[in-house]
Symmetry: C2
Subunit: 212 residues, 2 copies
């Protein structure tokens, strides 16, 4: 039997992800999670020191996966701006495929109260860091004009977040429906700056397509 440690821990994380998605932090009881894991409450507390720690672990796992997806999507692109666009699409479509995950990551955390604040800052910081990096490189590469990339990154993240959250609640418009529009207005908002300052020296490749 021994050395089920990681297996069981994983089972708990999976069950918790689902439970938190359904009911939020407060409304999910430790007994619920124990139940879904076919574990007793005591069994659960053998693996996690507290409910709060469990929640953070769930969030961290999700965020890490998503950030990695975004990063690798971005890395497989030629130009920085395309990379940012790809990261954006990746996040949007991934969350769009997994409504429950989106809900845990973007909504349910707040119900933890003040303990969540630090975590939210950290998670959103990771994402906006990825985007900001790409934007900075795009500026350096002369793809877009200089601008406060931190604000832009945040704004994009917020736009994506709102589209996803609204979809989580409303069911419409779906992220994949929204993607082309988002691409147009977000990336387009920067390209215009480029047009203002036409000092680019890109090697003639066609610029980022503005629609699918």
């Amino acid at each position: 039997m021994a050395v089920q440690r990681e297996t069981t821990r994983e089972r708990i994380l999976v069950a918790a992800e689902s439970a938190f998605a359904d009911k939020g932090y407060h409304e999910t009881l430790v007994d619920d999670i124990a139940g879904r894991t076919s574990l007793s409450k005591g069994g659960f507390y053998f693996h996690f020191p507290s409910k709060e720690d469990l929640f953070f672990a769930v969030i961290d796992r999700l965020a890490a996966r998503l950030v990695q997806r975004a990063e690798s999507a971005s890395a497989s692109c030629q130009s920085p701006l395309q990379g940012v666009e790809a990261a954006l699409s990746e996040v949007l479509t991934t969350l769009g495929r997994r409504r429950r995950i989106a809900k845990v990551l973007l909504v349910q955390g707040y119900s933890m109260g003040s303990a969540f604040e630090k975590k939210r800052v950290e998670i959103f910081g990771r994402f906006s860091g990825v985007i900001q990096d790409g934007l900075d490189r795009a500026v350096e590469a002369g793809e877009i004009a200089p601008i406060n990339t931190e604000v832009v990154a945040r704004a994009w993240l917020g736009a994506v977040n709102e589209i996803v959250v609204n979809w989580v609640y409303h069911g419409t418009p779906t992220p994949s429906e929204a993607l082309p529009v988002l691409r147009t207005i977000l990336v387009g908002g920067l390209e215009r700056l480029d047009a203002d300052k036409p000092e680019t020296d890109s090697p003639g490749s066609d610029p980022v397509a503005t629609n699918d």
Copy 2:
């Protein structure tokens, strides 16, 4: 003594706004609010049927005020697009002046759990309605090219939301710092569409300034 009804109710609302801003829904006790109002718990329950009702009343009040500000800012503009821009600025700067209000309105609600979902949909719907209306009129007026205005409105709202929330937690960048950048990328994202389809018949007045 009689007929303090409204006065006391108002006092409770004000105190609750502040308490919820500080500690969120769950962490704020009815006793806290009673305390801040120099009222007993029983006294409080004379005026509100439940803690939940109180919270909704607080949120509604704040949202109504803010929506009205946005609408009147928008109404005092000449072109629809300028109106949308003005509404955007108004919301951003108003929230930027009142960090606590921003927190109650945009963050703390989630800590109520599922009961808040309907409310969030409603509140954000009100705001995005204002923006969407303006955008629709801007499309009709030929100021911008046709686009899915619902998605755009949501995206803008999300961008503003994220900037404000990030500021609430991080303290930087401040909404007023972010405003010019937001204006550039958001409104700019639409103007570019205009440039693609140069069929406007605006009466020669200079277009919306892209920076202050």
